[in-house]
Amino acid sequence: MPEYIVEENALKDFLQSISKGRVLLSPQGVGDKCQITETTPDKVTLNFTNTHISPKTLFFPQTEWLMSFQKDHSKPHPYVYQDLGDKAKSAVVFGIRPCDAKGLSVSNKVFQNDRFTDPYWKGKYESVIKVGLACKDPFPQCFCVAMGGSPYGATGLDVLAFPSEKGLGLKPITDEGAKLLAEANLKEADLSSELKSQEEAAIKAQGIPDDYSPIDHRGLLNLFQDPQWQSIAENCLNCGVCTFICPTCHCFDIQDEENSEGGVRMRNWDTCMSWLFTVHGTGHNPRPSKTERVRQRFMHKLKYIPMKQNGDRGCTGCGRCVVLCPVNIDIRSVALRMSTLNMQKQA
């Protein structure tokens, strides 16, 4: 597939073109206010680090109403839940980072796979064309490389955009992406070598990546029974910030709410850091302490998901949890400890 170039002054036209008949979504705001929102072509900027919290909100909002019932006997089906339906709108998101796109693709496999499909996720995920923006200058928190990704990675994207010397480079990834670009009337250009050298430089800028591959190899039980979990958990406040801002955390809690007229069934983000997450109706809690909960988080990201998703990790190195953890529990250090332990056990 060909690559395209959009010159700096043509960016607006390009965005105009790809958002025709669609909603345009793009990161807006700076610092802790930066998030992907509906916008117009003139407001799109390439000058941002990354959204403050992950863009999973696009497909998996913090609160989502699923169905409702009403109590009025004069209306049809009183007291019976009715599907509120999928509210997906056709959209294009411009500026999603490769780490997040990859992360969302991990969640996508959770929400739709050969066993079942979550219609609420599916509708939204599939109606959004994802144009990613590669990271030329990585930030101190970035470690996508170590997690098997790349600042120029294309997983989960339809199109990868990157800052080229001549403007904005665009590389179609999927057919849908190719179609989008083809319809945009763009100038074709061979940017493959520039892309390659940029990517290499960006990878290099992240430094020599830690090697977490030992985690993949063997020993689920070894990892599980590692006494070090206790010392990691000792610091943890179970605050759950890591899960809320994570692009691959996808757990939710179903809640019903009612008033005098009727009620709705909704789902809200949940966090495995919470005591409540696993507590049973009987009061029994299979994850009774911080240790089990902390272990769950890291094992899920770094062991269970790779086991289920052909080696793809549940962490894509976006670094949000590294920055936002109030007690500096750094997933990189934890992954290293898991790697080291495993090697010791094998030795």
Partner: protein
């Protein structure tokens, strides 16, 4: 009724204000029918959450009333309650709940007329505030057609 009729949840202690309301009844002292009374043993039983819940559920006003300080059937229940009320009052006032929506009073079981006047006064003040639109939960959307 074309005029806005406020809905008010009242929390009365059993021994004083509930008694005053009983006596107002015995004395046939009329007051507006806008209250629904939740009877508590003592204002000391009033958890601040009850007030918030009433507003969240759409009450236009809340009225809390108990024994005068020193008259508590439970020796000191209303003294402790008063401290809670002070904290609660300033908190809700600070965050912008109209002061007239939340009334605290002390009405003894003998003060039927005070009860009547207070009841009327509470309704008038809440009515002047208009419907509670800001300090309540958004209505639930119950049908597909209404979904944006």
């Amino acid at each position: 009724m074309s005029e806005f009729e406020p809905k008010i949840v009242a929390f009365f202690c059993n021994w004083c204000t509930y008694g005053a309301a009983d006596l107002a009844g015995v004395s046939r002292l009329e007051y507006p029918p806008n209250f629904r009374v939740v009877r508590l043993p003592c204002t000391g039983r009033l958890n601040p959450k009850f007030i918030l819940e009433a507003f969240k559920r759409g009450a236009d006003g809340v009225w809390v009333s108990g024994c005068h300080p020193g008259d508590c059937h439970y020796i000191a229940g209303n003294y402790y309650a008063r401290r809670k009320f002070i904290v609660m009052h300033y908190m809700l006032d600070s965050i912008g709940l109209e002061a007239d929506r939340l009334r605290f009073s002390w009405i003894s079981s003998a003060e039927a007329t005070k009860f009547q006047h207070m009841a009327t006064d509470v309704v008038e003040h809440v009515r002047a505030c208009g419907p509670n639109l800001k300090f309540r939960k958004a209505p639930l959307i119950l049908g597909m057609e209404e979904v944006a």
